[in-house]
Assembly symmetry: C2
Homo-oligomer: 360 residues x 2
């Protein structure tokens, strides 16, 4: 699974993708290098957004001035910058990238900037698709043979049951277009495996999802517990942004912890360390599979335009993958898919009725 | 860390601990074996609760009839039994065990029965301590050198900020009495590391904890994120039962997943497998550290009496550890500690005022 995302056949003229060249721990150098790679190896059409005085020499050094136009943006969001500070900055590279998407000049935006800053800037500047209550941040978990998509990973700390129902549609569209899963199975993250378990939010959302699964053409499989996140029982796991963020970071921390503990155990004695001489290849392959760079990053779904947020620590390869993912989402018409899924939901009178009813 | 719980000096007459002999995947055989071990190796005073016709032969086979009295209970909760069904059953071994505690005959209850069933039965039959809004289920994470306590692990799916403040006191008392941590550092599980991050519940609870930390004599350290759960940054992590349960199960699932993946990698080729011949001891030690049986189980805090819930899959050793933990909590006067901690909170007028104010 070193490359779960592969280029789909491009249309006559590939869509233009705006790349925030100023966001990320290794910006702008690795961003430019990744963009060059995406253009040359995958035939994508990209534009860099950022300070042209910094970017032009880097692009020139790669002899890529013809392939990689630069759109100037005066400011850059710092990696530590909070959501509130971020969306006020109209001249940041993220904001300018969003403007290109809004105008129709670009079809998608890729950024390795701080997740909070990119989410809030994009939400304010791109707005949600008609009928979409809130955008959701989707991340992928490294299950085999296909990854598991979890959303919302943190765009909305407080959610309503109706939002979770919409997230199911956003996630299903992303699974189909972004990961080639034709009939995505959807589950809801909660506690306990039987129906009726969980907090008020999860219980109500599960009810709505069960009640409308048939007319919504959604393959809803019910409850998913924390220990099943990496079991591949479903393709899409729906939850609120608070629980989703805690769960994802818990998984991330626990996997890192387990690997650290095992590394310590395997090097705890000269004898054990000697044993690793025979395991180098196996351990290297494992590391590659867990390498977040091969997954292309998180996707912000439900906006008027596609936004891919690469890991802040991304190097050239991670950026190239994120660009490829954005390209594939545009070519696969992800926003049309979402529009259709949500429109199906919005037409359901029983659902609309519940939506307007006061919350229990 | 094969035995993080060790017997504290027993008083003149050790307190009696009721052991639910019918709960758990390996009940009653392994429960009886564990109880015998706890009595003989640690000098505890126990009583088995369950069907005497089943238990008497097992106790006789261990020649332990004198050391291990049996209190008859007609029924047993099935492991799959829901919380609602569970607490209605007045004659279940868990209910009879609670009755012994309520009467003052026993000082604590140990059960390896279904968590939902034990929590609901004990909550209804033992009631909360004066001033305690809700009981909380506390679990330990295998950090070094001391474990990290997480609560609530699932007793309350929907919580209020004031409950989380109380959980901080319950957890701090448990850290002191159960794990010998003199000055427990307390954190709140949320998303984002800066103050003001999280959902409404976590933000409000963090505010209350910060505002009252000094007068409450609580060492509140602020926000803890999912990836820090195993980092040992604090001794007590406070959260609502929904988030706590999802986080714990996510950690559990991810650690198991990582170990499985590494085992697969280390045995993926004859050469790699050959390497493991030199690592047997190191890998065995690692497994022992992660073995849930050495931690004695979850503790339900805040009730009139101590309840330890051993892992459902516990064998004799796990049961013996759970009995030892219950014994130590009784000898360390955990309920008095909690009473004092909560009383301190309840006397705070500003806090009481907020409690009675309508929720934002």
């Amino acid at each position: 699974m070193s490359s779960p995302v592969t280029a789909q056949r491009p249309p006559a003229a590939p869509p233009l993708i705006a790349v925030d060249a100023m966001g990320g721990d290794h910006a702008p150098r690795e961003i430019v290098a990744g963009a060059v790679r995406a253009v040359r190896e995958h035939g994508l059409r990209l534009a860099l957004v950022g300070r042209s005085s910094e970017l032009a020499p880097l692009v020139a050094a790669e002899q890529a001035a013809r392939e990689l136009p630069i759109v100037h943006a005066e400011e850059a969001l710092a990696m530590h910058e909070g959501a509130l500070a971020a969306w006020r900055r109209a001249r940041s590279s993220v904001a300018v990238g969003c403007k290109l998407v809004r105008q129709g000049t670009a079809a998608a935006l890729v950024s390795a900037g701080s997740t909070g800053g990119v989410v809030s800037t994009a939400t304010v500047r791109l707005r949600t698709l008609p009928g979409v209550l809130r955008p959701a941040l989707a991340l992928v978990l490294p299950t085999t043979p296909t990854p598991t998509i979890l959303l919302d990973a943190g765009a909305n700390a407080d959610a309503k049951p109706e939002m979770l129902v919409q997230f199911a549609h956003l996630g299903a569209a992303y699974a189909r277009v972004g990961h080639g899963i034709a009939e995505p199975r959807v589950g809801i993250l909660t506690i306990g495996s039987e129906p009726g378990k969980g907090n008020k939010l999860a219980r109500r959302a599960a009810e709505l999802l069960s009640a409308n699964a048939t007319e919504d053409r959604l393959d809803f499989r019910g409850n998913i517990e924390g220990h099943d996140l990496l079991a591949g029982l479903v393709d899409v796991v729906v939850t609120d942004g608070f629980t989703g963020n805690v769960a994802l970071k818990s998984v991330e921390g626990a996997v890192r912890f387990a690997f650290d503990e095992i590394r310590a155990a395997l090097t705890s004695s000269p004898l054990a360390r000697f044993g690793t001489l025979f395991q180098r290849r196996a351990l290297r392959e494992l590391r590659t599979r867990f390498d977040s760079e091969t997954y292309g990053g998180a996707v912000l779904l439900g906006l008027n335009g596609t936004v891919v947020i690469a890991h802040g620590a991304s190097r050239a390869e991670g950026i190239a993958h994120a660009c490829l993912l954005a390209h594939n989402l545009v070519v696969g018409r992800i926003t049309d898919q979402i529009r259709r899924g949500i429109a199906g939901v919005s037409r359901t009178p029983s659902w609309l009725h519940r939506l307007s009813a006061p919350e229990e």
